[in-house]
């Protein structure tokens, strides 16, 4: 399982880097769906190996909600609402890739000097790298749907982390987290749809505030 975890973790990092340079929103959402399906498959396999019903249920929930429901809902909202491209990034694509790679190294250093001495799991830096990259995706892009995807990348990394390291974590908590995610996506999508039309006018109004 350790090797499989490494492969899945590495694939997740590649997916996020792909999201960083991508300008098509649809492709970003589909990449998120694919990464969620891979995590679900990993949880499922882990569940079979450990004979853990919790992990099997979690894998099923992940594939249903993160792999299919959320991406489908987001694509539906995207079709209804507005343009499919985000041509202008806050951070240029080339710079974002370099920063993403730098974040992977940073995550490894942070992990090595903090958690590694306690957990002794070499690949433990992968979820930290994914969390940092998810945060960077939120900061580096203007489009609210991509920011929302960044948030979901952070949550996905936690599921991978928890599923591998703490398979005995009570299912009710992970189920609650999933339900919250659905709620966040649904409410966010409503707000984003209305907000996107007005984004240029807003900036001026906020500039006069101090602090």
């Amino acid at each position: 399982m350790k090797e499989l975890y490494l492969i899945v973790g590495f694939a997740q990092i590649v997916f996020v880097i792909f999201m960083q340079w991508q300008i098509y929103l649809k492709k970003i959402i589909l990449t998120f769906a694919l990464s969620s399906i891979i995590i679900a498959a990993f949880l499922f396999l882990d569940g079979i190996m450990l004979n853990s019903t919790n992990l099997l249920i979690l894998g099923t929930l992940t594939i249903t909600i993160r792999g299919f429901f959320i991406p489908r809902y987001m694509l539906k909202m995207l079709n209804l609402a507005y343009k499919e491209r985000e041509p202008r990034h806050i951070v240029p694509p080339a710079a974002s890739i370099i920063i993403s790679l730098f974040l992977v190294v940073l995550a490894y250093i942070v992990y090595h000097f903090t958690l590694y001495n306690i957990t002794y799991i070499k690949a433990g830096s992968i979820p930290i790298a994914l969390i940092l990259q998810g945060m960077f995706l939120i900061i580096s892009r203007n489009n609210a749907f991509i920011q929302l995807t960044g948030y979901m990348v952070m949550e996905n990394s936690l599921f991978l982390f928890a599923g591998y390291l703490f398979p005995e974590l009570p299912l009710i908590i992970e189920g609650g987290i999933l339900l919250d995610l659905v709620g966040v996506v649904m409410i966010s999508s409503i707000v984003i749809r209305l907000r996107e039309d007005a984004i240029s006018a807003i900036t001026e109004q906020f500039e006069k505030f101090k602090g």
């Binding site: 306690i118 936690l158 908590i173 609650g176 409410i187 984003i192 907000r195 807003i202």
Partner: protein, 460 residues
């Protein structure tokens, strides 16, 4: 056990009634639920603490239940009078009550649980249920504020989830009753988890430097929503911080929380000086108060803890009163700019006095409970860290006191231009802020009672 979950069940039941999408029915159901919720919460005050299964209701939880229910009641009453000013709401007015009930339900749920993971779920649920309440005005700035709120707070809460998982890795349980008794297998991991969890919950509580969503939301949401956010949502998030500090009671964790609290007081006071918009000004005042409460919760001292709870209770009544009045002012003057609101003593005579008194209360003036709460915290700070730290915090509290009250006095007593606005005091919307200001004062008579509730039945 049924008594303990009654305050939580009533708003949930009301939200189901609201699904009928009938405005009058939703309003009445919310009002009945809020009255029943406060009644049940007050009854629980006199029951023994409960540590059964998923419930963990100690003294602090009991006080949180009462405060949340009390502000729920006044917000429902104020909303009924205020919603007519919303011309083009993003959701129907019955949906407003649906989300308001669910929002209160998630807060009551969060403060009653015996599990850090489920508490996280509850606090994250407050974001989902309140995002559309922030955007109800359906203008560009309220939508932007709502989005900032969702993304910043949710990101912060992911960090706290990482922290909670590390706590689990260290303790192999998330049950608060077990966390309080068990020894950690990896103390360093527990400290690391606690620090991350504090950062995450502090984002929701508007603690510096993760506060950036707070002034926008408080500044642009409608008055009843700003009131409920400031007076009970921020304390609910701080309650989460308290549970973390309580379960990982190491010096390093407490010092970290204390530093965040001090920095919040310092920066909120500085930001307050330059504020030009009255709702935003009260947002920074909330930050300053949350900073003081966090200092009180972080210091391991009975005066500090008691002071933090008194400040929390008194602030909830005073700040909700101040925000309700800002709603009354905005509905008449149609501007949030301090320079364009003059002489409300003539246009809103009752409102002006209530506004002035509530501003004094939130700034910590005697004889309000906030003064006593801050006094206890400063005293505990002096006992623990000496006179210099106590004086340093006092200086920033004074800056915030003068900034806030100077601006509010200007709004109340400056000369009104002729024929600017007509006198418009409305009974319900003027009465509720006055009641809450009076309650902020009456808190001082219940200090002994609050202390008894807090100290009875504590596990640790």
């Amino acid at each position: 056990m049924i008594y303990y979950i009654l305050p939580i069940l009533f708003p949930f039941a009301a939200s189901i009634v609201c699904l009928a999408k009938n405005y009058s029915l939703s309003e009445s159901a919310s009002l009945i639920a809020s009255v029943l919720s406060i009644t049940a919460s007050l009854y629980i005050l006199f029951l023994k603490p409960s540590y059964i299964n998923f419930l963990y209701i100690d003294g602090f939880s009991k006080i949180m239940l009462v405060i949340i229910s009390a502000i729920y009641l006044t917000t429902v009453l104020f909303s009924s009078a205020y919603l007519k000013h919303i011309k083009n709401p993003i959701i129907s007015k019955s949906s407003y009550f649906l989300f308001l009930n669910l929002f209160v339900f998630s807060m009551l749920f969060s403060v009653s649980l015996n599990n850090l993971g489920l508490m996280w779920v509850g606090i994250e649920a407050t974001t989902i249920t309140s995002a559309l309440l922030v955007a109800i005005d359906n203008d560009k700035t309220s939508l932007e504020s709502s989005w900032r709120y969702i993304i910043i707070v949710s990101t912060g809460l992911v960090i706290s989830l990482v922290g909670i998982m590390l706590i689990y890795a260290s303790m192999h349980t998330l049950k608060i009753t077990e966390l309080l008794i068990n020894k950690p297998s990896h103390p360093k991991l527990l400290v690391m988890g606690a620090v991350l969890a504090i950062v995450g919950f502090s984002t929701k509580a508007g603690i510096f430097p993760m506060h950036t969503w707070l002034p926008d939301v408080h500044g642009h949401a409608i008055a009843p929503v700003s009131a409920i956010f400031s007076s009970i949502l921020l304390p609910t998030a701080l309650f989460g911080v308290y549970r973390i500090i309580e379960t990982a009671s190491f010096d390093s964790v407490r010092i970290f929380a204390l530093l965040l609290g001090v920095l919040t007081v310092v920066f909120a006071s500085i930001f307050l000086i330059s504020q030009k918009f009255y709702k935003r000004m009260f947002a920074y005042s909330s930050m300053e108060n949350m900073g003081m409460i966090l200092i009180g919760l972080a210091i391991d001292n009975k005066f500090a803890f008691l002071g933090a709870v008194i400040l929390l209770v008194s602030h909830a009544f005073a700040k909700s009163s101040a925000f309700y009045t800002t709603g009354n002012i905005l509905s008449i003057y149609k501007t949030r700019d301090i320079n364009n609101v003059k002489g409300i003593i003539k246009t809103l005579p009752f409102g002006a006095y209530s506004f002035l008194l509530s501003a004094m209360a939130v700034a910590g003036a005697p004889p309000f409970g906030t003064f006593l709460g801050e006094l206890f915290i400063i005293y505990a700070l002096y006992l623990k860290f000496g006179i210099v730290s106590a004086i340093a915090v006092l200086i920033f509290l004074s800056i915030s006191f003068f900034s806030l009250n100077h601006k509010v006095a200007k709004i109340c007593f400056s000369i009104t231009p002729e024929k600017q606005v007509q006198k418009k005091d409305e009974v319900i919307s003027s009465l509720i802020p006055i009641i809450n200001t009076v309650l902020a004062f009456l808190v001082i008579f219940f200090v002994g009672f609050i202390n008894n509730i807090l100290t009875s039945g504590m596990l640790k």
